[in-house]
């Protein structure tokens, strides 16, 4: 019985120490684990030090309503990404995912250009965790109970 108890303490103690170590490592590497920065986080970073123009990073947020446009060349798309606090202007030339539209959550990879705009090389759609049939979504919108960010 005592030997079992001792083994129990050894295993539990080992687990506790290891879990703490893992937690410390993850906290130290938080900057590298996050997949994207929100517009607010990016603004805070740029305040601290300007981001070099060729530094690649990802930003994420919602495509602002009414912000989608095209440049004169007809293929470059422009839109604004927002987290309802800060806004980033984005320029992108390429294929957009099916879910992309105004009000949709997206993640864009690219770099900050000299004019302060974010030049994206890839745009990914991010969807939320809500699942429902179309009819329910429409009924919710009609009743004014809609809480989603999406159209």
């Amino acid at each position: 019985m005592t030997r079992k108890r001792r083994r129990l303490y050894i295993v539990s103690g080992f687990m506790l120490i290891f879990a703490t170590a893992a937690a410390l490592v993850l906290m130290a590497f938080e900057e590298n684990i996050v997949f994207f920065y929100s517009p607010t986080e990016l603004a805070r970073k740029m305040e601290q030090q300007p981001i070099p123009p060729n530094r690649r990073l990802r930003i994420g947020g919602l495509v602002e309503e009414g912000s989608l446009g095209r440049e004169k060349d007809g293929v470059t798309i422009t839109f604004r990404v927002t987290d309802t606090v800060e806004v980033i202007n984005v320029r992108f030339r390429g294929f957009l995912p099916d879910l992309f539209r105004e009000g949709q959550g997206i993640v864009a990879e690219g770099s900050v250009a000299a004019d302060g705009k974010f030049v994206a090389t890839e745009v990914l759609a991010k969807h939320d965790e809500t699942y429902m049939p179309k009819e329910v979504a429409e009924a919710l919108k009609e009743a004014g109970q809609w809480q989603g960010d999406h159209e």
């Binding site: 996050v34 997949f35 294929f95 879910l99 992309f100 890839e122 990914l124 699942y131 049939p133 179309k134």
Partner: protein
């Protein structure tokens, strides 16, 4: 009934032999019903359309990937601390099943990611931690094979299983702790499920089907391991006589 009641291999084999076909039938029935509800009956999603049906395989696989590892880790701890004779067996038997579910979750997730996100794979915290889970399973299985003395192998593998257990909460909470492309949990979350009941029920039935399938495979693998041990023991006895 003490924990050592089923430590008797003969008693375990008898009981497992009775439960295994029942669990197998249950898995088959639930899978047929679940797939019909998921692929035919459930409505298309307001946002994702028909693609959402991948969820009914992807989510139960991912749950089982985590469940199998938790089971493996608990069995390993029981083996290390209480030296329960069936615990090593249960841990060893659950590893390939868990690896299979993890692989299925990764593949279906990738197939889902391409049409919805626009990419097969990204290195975000959720996807990366699940890939690490697959490697943990494979490493665990390799360790059993690499050490010839089965008692030493059991001990080494159990320690690896416990070290890897740290990854389980990381996977579960990765979507809450860090910005990820993967969305947060839909079912197991604080404010209740964010899935409409017409989609939640098929999902839960599929999850039960996967669980019953796990029980079936686990018992089959454990009985096989026990038989292999008996064969080895008999051969040894024969040689020494």
């Amino acid at each position: 009934m003490s924990m050592h009641y089923f430590a008797n291999p003969a008693r375990f084999t008898r009981l497992a032999g009775r439960i295994q076909p029942l669990a197998g039938c249950l898995a088959a029935i639930l899978l047929i019903v679940g797939l019909y509800l998921a692929l035919v009956q459930a409505p298309a999603d307001y946002q994702q359309g028909e693609t959402v049906r991948i969820m009914f395989v992807h989510v139960p696989s991912a749950w089982m990937a985590l469940f199998c590892y938790s089971f493996l880790a608990v069995a390993s701890a029981v083996a290390l601390i209480w030296k329960h004779p069936l615990a090593d067996l249960a841990a060893k038997a659950s590893a390939p099943i868990g690896a299979g579910f993890t692989f299925l979750a990764l593949v279906t997730g990738s197939l889902w990611g391409k049409p919805m996100w626009g990419t097969w794979w990204v290195w975000d915290a959720r996807l990366t931690s699940v890939l690490i889970l697959l490697f943990l399973y494979l490493g665990y299985m390799a360790l059993w094979q690499a050490i010839e003395d089965s008692q030493k192998a059991a001990k080494a593998a159990a320690v690896l299983a416990l070290v890897g257990a740290v990854n389980v909460p990381i996977i579960k909470f990765s979507v809450d702790w860090w910005n990820t492309l993967h969305q947060p949990a839909s079912v197991l979350r604080m404010d209740g499920p964010a899935i409409h009941p017409s989609m939640l029920w098929p999902l839960l039935i599929m999850a039960l089907a996967f669980k019953a399938y796990f029980v079936t495979l686990l018992l089959a693998r454990m009985r096989m391991e026990l038989n292999l041990r008996r064969i080895r023991a008999l051969r040894l006895a024969e040689r020494s006589s």
